[in-house]
């Protein structure tokens, strides 16, 4: 029997396999990206271009040049004017070009923005530089008590819509985990032009330094258990929307990946496992997947995808509230 077909389709992109490297340092470097490709990763999502950071850098540079300038006769400024500053997205765009040149797998640029204007401008720029698709990282921390969830969602939709209007490549939206109505929002994302959603954004949550009494960002690698939060929503979204689905977070074994594909993910993205074990980890994971498929007599990954989604699984209530009940009771003694 021939080896099972691992190929999959994600937002119209034909991929040789279901493993995608998500935004991490490995995908921001041409050499390690090449190693990912060699290990069987079938697309990469670049580290995010942060709109805020781009603007911050540009404004900082402006402030730097203005700081102390033109205030004393002996020194009209304090820095030489450089031929170019590479501010803003310049470096990022070069990286897009370099990755495009070095890889034959699709390169997905990732944007993290705050305003519709900035999104559209930068999306156009990364696509012009060669990105096959754009991932929008919708990370929004609503702190204003007067802004309702509906208003927040409208603003997120406006941003997606702005990007859709600016580019003609596939656009996927990375959703935050804390949404009141994720399925509804995902559907509306699709309506305004998103081709897929990524479930879920692993935001960098803040931490406190108790000595310095400072708030500090802290990024931790994912654990397998995190995968299951995505699992539920992938299963539901797979049944309730036509969007391409990508999971992110918590895939550390072939079995983890398999579960997400069964639930309905078109691709499984991973970063922590690659960072922990190196790019070659992807090869082992694909081999494990392949072995499972063979052992269970599947011909292809395509057969597998969504076969356990909300509509196709034998016990859908397990994905819903019932699942929660069962998990609770499983920790107590079964009734005699």
């Amino acid at each position: 029997m021939s080896a099972p077909d691992l190929s999959t389709t994600w937002m119209g992109l034909e991929l040789s396999g279901p493993l995608v490297a998500s935004a991490c340092p490995l995908t921001g470097d041409v050499e390690s990206a090449r190693r990912l490709e060699d290990a069987g990763v079938s697309a990469i999502v670049m580290p995010s271009l942060f709109q805020e950071q781009v603007e911050h850098e540009e404004l900082e540079l402006g402030r730097l040049r203005d700081f102390g300038a033109e205030s004393y006769g002996e020194a009209s400024d304090y820095f030489p004017e450089l031929a170019a500053y590479n501010t803003g997205p310049d470096g990022y765009l070069r990286l897009v070009e370099d990755l495009r040149g070095a890889l034959s797998i699709p390169v997905v640029a990732s944007l993290n923005g705050v305003s519709a204007d900035g999104w559209a401008r930068h999306a156009r720029a990364v696509v012009d530089a060669g990105a096959h698709a754009v991932e929008l990282n919708l990370h929004h921390v609503p702190t204003d008590p007067d802004v309702s969830s509906a208003e927040v969602e409208e603003s997120l939709l406006a941003q997606v819509s702005a990007v859709r209007g600016a580019v003609d490549v596939p656009v996927s939206v990375k959703l935050g985990a804390h949404l009141t109505a994720p399925v509804h929002l995902a559907r509306r994302m699709g309506e305004v032009g998103a081709n897929g959603v990524v479930v879920f954004n692993r935001a960098v949550d803040p931490d406190l330094d108790v000595e310095a009494l400072q708030v500090v960002p802290r990024l931790e690698l994912s654990r397998s258990s995190e995968m299951r939060a995505s699992l539920r929503w992938i299963a539901i979204l797979s049944a309730r929307t036509d969007l391409s689905l990508a999971s992110t977070g918590g895939v550390h074994s072939a079995e983890d990946a398999l579960k997400l594909l069964l639930a309905g993910a078109n691709v499984v993205t991973l970063a922590s496992a690659l960072l922990l074990h190196g790019p070659s980890f992807a090869r082992g994971l694909l081999d494990g997947l392949s072995t499972w498929l063979s052992e269970h007599e599947y011909d292809s990954v395509a057969q597998l995808i969504g076969s356990m989604n909300l509509d196709h699984c034998p016990d859908p209530s397990a994905y819903e509230r019932g699942g929660y009940m069962r998990a609770l009771t499983s920790f107590t003694s079964p009734m005699p």
């Binding site: 781009v54 603007e55 850098e57 540009e58 404004l59 900082e60 540079l61 402006g62 730097l64 040049r65 203005d66 700081f67 102390g68 300038a69 033109e70 205030s71 004393y72 006769g73 002996e74 020194a75 009209s76 400024d77 304090y78 820095f79 030489p80 004017e81 450089l82 031929a83 170019a84 500053y85 590479n86 501010t87 803003g88 470096g91 204007d117 401008r121 009494l213």
Partner: protein
């Protein structure tokens, strides 16, 4: 053919030709010539080619002397070489200039002519430098305008190559070097057309080459030197004709016709003025005015000054001329007259037969003193008098020797078709940048002629800038400030209460005011003086809330674009839409390189600006009771009232000669009288939280936050004054303690609040010091500070000045300087004055510290209640160590002499115990010093009581101060210590004398705008190191330690305050030379200044700035003299560097190159640390160190 025009200043005009016509450019920063070197370095880094197709090699040297030497060598090597300089820099080049001319070597030096320091330094323009170089044998060509600076750079280059005589090409510093003007550009083809390749070939043919060796630079003897000196005469004789030829070729090529001398005026003139430089424009305007009045006058503009074109001068002066005034922009005390005067007199004597015209000579324009057409009219009027003053001055009131001519200050000869605008802004608020951009917009988008000139005040923080713009259909000849403006903009509302911003407003002018007050409320908020000026001059007043518009556009409070747009809307000849398009184009050009965000936000500001622009209906009466503030408070001393106040008010021009000290000696402690109140936020003290650590006052750059510990005396404190019990205990138990801000002197840098370690338990962000908006606190803090000043000052004998806490209870005698907000240098100086201010003598190298320390009108060094305090002097940039050593030698000589006389003074009138005590060595602690001063006072009393005329008693009495130890500190920046003054510093450290050297190391030439020095670290971007410095920072401490008997410390106040305080005290107590190298953060590092002290910790933690002390006394005790005060680095250098723009900008611009440099820098630091660690382990004894006696 339409000629390409460009809008540039004189420096760029000259440098653009100099760069294109040379192969080797040796540079060194000096105001106002630095931009020529900076541009050359930037062009070279960018790979721009000269007309020969090569990228010139640009090298920064350690001094102008070094630059001249390098140029001389490059010329000997057959290269085309140049340099740029001014003032003292030119003086340092003179030895080489004699050589270069003596060897008939073609070369041009471009000089932005600047005042040579005499009774005072001045950065401004006159001809005292070039005149000091006139005997070197160089031809001298003077450009009077920006266009001429461009053209003559080429004419000089052509003429030097053809004649072999080197040329000094000069133009007026600031007035021409920094004036922006529209000029016609010389294209590469024009440049090549004037330069014959044969001349270059001939120059190369004379080079030193082992294939055809020659010897140059022999020593000659009485037998032949003289003849050989005369042998070059024919070359000098040909220069004038060669220059004429070059002018002719330039004219053929460009249509711009010049001559060695040019007559402008009536061919039948009876009176003439002769001068050179930017002042010619003003005289031409006066000539035109007099011609209109039917008077027969003219002006002779001199371009070629050496060789002096005597025949051309006499031929150009009409035979009808009966009287001539020659104006010199320099002063030569003791001479029969200034140089140009003497040259003209001699020329006439040699070339003309009797009856010759009468010639008188006058000085004008020293240190960029204004020279206006009205002054020129006064000179012509003087010439018309039957007995004119033979020697006179114009532009000042000389009520001492009566030399000055009176002139009409009100008269204006502005061209009515030329628009004139004046903009008042705050330093760094973008006003000057916007004005420059306006000049460029007009100069580049229209056929109009433009001129921009910018005046700065003497402070580095919170300074006022005034931009003077002229825009008109005819070439602009006014080389002086705008006197009658059609448009006045005040970009800072607070100026109105301090400055007469409408002084220059013409009748009917437009007045644009940036204010948060709306059109209906603003009138009553204006000082009555401003209201009066608006009504009397019939001004139209417009207001805009620039801050709000800028904030809404996402530009923070940056108002420049808003204000520029309003100017265009109110005062430009363009239709509004076109004007806006032009402003946007200019924004794109200026900010485009910095990224789309900045451009977009500025566009938004343009679009919103006009919505907020409103005209104010002028009421027919004054309203409100606001008045302009007096420049200094009424309680200020007499000199401050009479003299300083005038300068503070911007009216120093009006001071007569008699008001000024004759020898440059000024009273100290004047900064306290200039209340600038520039902070928006000030630190507010929460006394209950305070742990009384003293850090806030230690780090304050302006001595604007202070601590006092005092006995509560029951005196009524004003409401809101805060005090808590002193927690220190000991002798001061029961005392009260107050930390007090000086709200009008604080610059709002926030460093004190940043370093404050005491946090509230309930609200983590609240500290014992928080920065809060000033205005709500101002009244209370003002009254509190006044009360605080009246509280008793701590007696130095009751504290330990070598501890952080102890030192901060002492009075700072360096306060409220004009240094940048957050300056990293001044806290060290202030600390020094707290530890030993009453016996401190400072030799200060030229640089930032001499500017914030000694730039008028007000200065920070001050005295204590007894009238004692630091005595301060600045000599030069290059000689400071020697200067300080000389002071030390003087005190030693006087001390020795006093002791010698006292030693002979036996049994007669002076208590033997007192005599014996005074012959003992005096310790350096406050108590010993105090005791010694009391002994000296008793000695003085005893000596005064001696009967009869005792010459020895009188001699001793004059020298008694020599018996009190003085602490001589030699202070300067790294430019001085590492580069220009290093030779002298090395010698002084080797002298074994008791002098202390404090190097305020910012790692760049901060004062001149951040050029690289040998203290600049590898990988840092600086001017003259645009690609990042490629070599490592010099380890000055290690060099000094090599001597063995020099106390050396490397300190960083923010990294380790305790080590800093101790090191300064140890250096002072060390009876030999000491060197303290102090890490000084600087705005040229591109850091968040508020967090600068915390950043210093990272400097130490990364090994970038290891802290150490080398104390030879430890060797006496059998210990290792070297001690590392830092721990092993724990932070990668790149992490530290990422927080400084000087490193980070290169990482952005050129990541691969930056990473390579950063990696090498890391290796430098690793290697250095290994070396230090080993040193800390080795044994070293220092034999035969002499103990001194005093």
């Amino acid at each position: 053919m339409t000629k390409r025009t460009m809008v540039v200043d004189g420096n760029e005009a000259a440098a653009s030709v100099a760069y294109r016509t040379n192969e080797v450019i040796a540079i060194y920063p000096i105001t106002p010539a630095s931009p020529m070197g900076e541009l050359s370095d930037a062009w070279s880094s960018a790979g721009r080619r000269n007309v020969y197709g090569a990228v010139p090699s640009v090298i920064e040297m350690q001094s102008e002397g070094g630059a001249a030497g390098a140029v001389h060598g490059a010329l000997q090597g057959g290269a085309l070489a140049t340099t740029f300089t001014a003032s003292q820099g030119l003086l340092l080049m003179i030895p080489n200039m004699f050589k270069i001319a003596g060897e008939l070597t073609p070369c041009v030096i471009h000089v932005a002519a600047r005042t040579v320091a005499t009774h005072a330094l001045s950065i401004f323009g006159d001809h005292s430098d070039v005149m000091a170089a006139r005997s070197c044998g160089w031809a001298m060509l003077c450009a009077n305008t920006v266009q001429e600076a461009h053209d003559f750079a080429l004419v000089a280059q052509a003429a030097t190559l053809e004649s072999r005589v080197p040329f000094l090409h000069f133009f007026d510093g600031f007035r021409t070097s920094h004036e922006i003007s529209r000029i016609e550009a010389l294209e590469d083809d024009d440049v090549r057309a004037l330069l014959d390749d044969e001349w270059v070939t001939a120059h190369r043919g004379r080079s030193l080459d082992p294939d055809r060796p020659v010897l140059r630079g022999t020593a000659q003897n009485p037998d032949v030197f003289f003849q050989a000196r005369e042998a070059s005469n024919p070359y000098h004789d040909r220069v004038e004709a060669i220059v004429d030829g070059a002018f002719e070729r330039l004219a053929e090529r460009t249509g711009r016709r010049y001559a060695a001398v040019e007559w402008v005026g009536d061919p039948e003139a009876e009176r003439a003025v002769v001068l050179m430089g930017s002042g010619c424009g003003a005289v031409e305007q006066a000539v035109a005015e007099l011609a209109r009045r039917g008077e027969k006058v003219g002006v002779l503009k001199v371009r070629l000054y050496r060789p002096f074109p005597a025949r051309a001068v006499c031929e150009a002066l009409p035979a009808s001329v009966r009287s001539i005034a020659v104006l010199d922009r320099t002063k030569e005390p003791g001479a029969l007259g200034e140089p140009l005067y003497q040259d003209v007199v001699t020329a006439l004597a040699e070339q003309r037969d009797e009856p010759r015209p009468r010639v008188i000579g006058g000085r004008y324009g020293l240190s960029s003193k204004e020279f206006t057409p009205s002054m020129a009219l006064a000179v012509f009027a003087e010439l018309a008098r039957p007995e004119p003053k033979r020697h006179f001055t114009i532009g000042i009131v000389d009520d001492v020797t009566g030399l000055s001519l009176a002139w009409d200050r009100e008269l204006s000869l502005e061209d009515p078709d030329t628009k004139r605008a004046v903009f008042y802004g705050l330093g760094s608020d973008g006003t000057v940048g916007a004005a420059k951009s306006t000049v460029k917009i007009f100069g580049e988008s229209t056929d109009l002629h433009v001129q921009g000139y910018f005046v700065y005040d003497s402070k580095k923080s919170g300074s006022m800038t005034v931009s003077h713009l002229r825009i008109g259909p005819r070439p602009i000849r006014g080389s002086y400030l705008v006197g009658r403006a059609d448009f006045v903009a005040c970009h800072q509302f607070s100026f109105l209460e301090r400055v007469d911003v409408l002084e220059f407003a013409d009748a009917g002018a437009t007045f644009l005011l940036n204010t948060a007050h709306g059109p209906d409320e603003v009138w009553e908020q204006l000082p009555r003086e401003v209201q009066r000026a608006i009504r009397e001059k019939g001004l139209r007043l417009w207001v805009v809330d620039g801050e709000r518009v800028a904030r809404d556009a996402g530009l923070g409070g940056r108002i420049n674009t808003v204000m520029q747009t309003c100017f265009f809307a109110l005062s430009s000849p363009f239709p509004r839409d076109e004007a806006i398009a032009l402003v946007k184009q200019s924004i794109e050009k200026t900010y485009g390189k910095r990224g789309a965000t900045v451009v977009e936000r500025n566009f938004a500001a343009v679009d919103r600006a006009l919505e907020g622009l409103r005209e104010v209906a002028i009421p027919d009466a004054g309203r409100g009771d606001l008045h302009r503030l007096p420049p200094v408070p009424p309680e200020a001393p007499d000199f401050v009232q009479r003299v300083t106040a005038m300068m503070v008010a911007g009216r120093g021009e009006l001071l007569p000669v008699s008001a000024l000290p004759v020898d440059g000696t000024f009273p100290v402690g004047t900064a306290r009288w200039e209340k600038r109140s520039i902070a928006r936020e000030i630190p507010i003290w929460d006394a209950d939280l305070c742990i009384q650590c003293g850090l806030c006052t230690l780090v304050c750059p302006h001595a604007a936050i202070r601590t006092k510990v005092y006995e509560p005396n029951g005196a009524a404190a004003p409401d809101g004054f805060k005090a808590v019990p002193w927690k220190g205990g000991g002798a001061l138990a029961g005392h009260a303690m107050t930390i007090q801000v000086a709200p009008d002197d604080c610059t709002g840098c926030g460093i004190c609040a940043d370093v404050c370690p005491a946090r509230s338990k309930e609200v983590a962000k609240h500290k014992a010091l928080d920065m809060e908006p000033k205005d709500p606190h101002l009244a209370v803090e003002r009254a509190s500070f006044a009360h605080f000043l009246d509280l008793p000052q701590m007696d130095p004998r009751r504290v330990q000045p070598e501890t952080v806490k102890g030192s901060q209870l002492l009075e700072p005698l360096f306060e409220f300087s004009g240094a940048c907000s957050g300056c990293g240098e001044t806290p060290y100086l202030k600390l020094l004055t707290q530890q030993l201010g009453d016996r401190l003598v400072v030799a200060n190298a030229t640089g930032c510290s001499s500017i914030y320390g000694g730039n008028l009108p007000t200065t920070p060094w001050t005295t204590n209640a007894e009238g004692r305090g630091p005595a301060w002097a600045n000599s030069l940039f290059e000689d400071n160590a020697e200067f300080g050593l000389g002071m030390r030698l003087a005190y030693e000589a006087h001390g020795d002499r006093a002791r010698a006389i006292l030693d002979e003074f036996r049994g007669d009138g002076v208590d033997p115990a007192l005599r014996a005590a005074l012959l003992e060595r005096c310790e350096r602690d406050p108590a010993s010093i105090h005791e010694r001063r009391e002994q000296v006072a008793r000695l003085h009393e005893a000596l005064s009581g001696l009967s009869g005329d005792r010459p020895d008693a009188r001699a001793l009495d004059e020298l008694t101060e020599g018996l009190v130890p003085r602490s001589v500190w030699i202070i300067g920046g790294d430019g001085w210590a590492y580069d220009i003054g290093f030779g002298g510093l090395d010698h002084v450290l080797a002298s074994g004398r008791r002098v202390n050297v404090l190097v305020l190391d910012t790692g760049v030439y901060s004062n001149t705008g951040g050029q690289a020095s040998k203290a600049t670290p590898r990988a840092a971007v600086a001017k003259f190191a645009t690609d990042g410095r490629s070599t490592r920072k010099k380890d000055l401490g290690m060099i000094a330690m090599a001597y063995g008997d020099v106390y050396v410390a490397q300190i960083a106040m923010g990294a380790n305050p305790k080590q800093t305080v101790e090191a300064l005290a140890e250096a002072e107590s060390y009876p030999g030379p000491s060197l303290v190298i102090a890490y000084s953060h600087c705005i040229a590092h591109g850091i968040d200044m508020r967090g600068a002290m915390g950043h210093q910790k990272e400097a130490a933690r990364s090994g970038f700035w290891p802290l150490f002390r080398y104390d030879p006394r430890r060797a006496d005790r059998g210990e290792n003299p070297f001690r590392l005060d830092s721990r092993k680095p724990t932070k990668p250098f790149a992490e530290f560097a990422a927080k400084e723009a000087r490193f980070a900008m290169l990482r952005h611009a050129n990541p691969e190159h930056a990473d390579a440099l950063l990696a090498r820098a890391q290796r430098d630091l690793d290697e250095q640390w290994r070396l230090y660690e080993q040193m800390a382990d080795v044994q070293r004894s220092v034999p035969d160190r002499e103990e001194e006696t005093v």
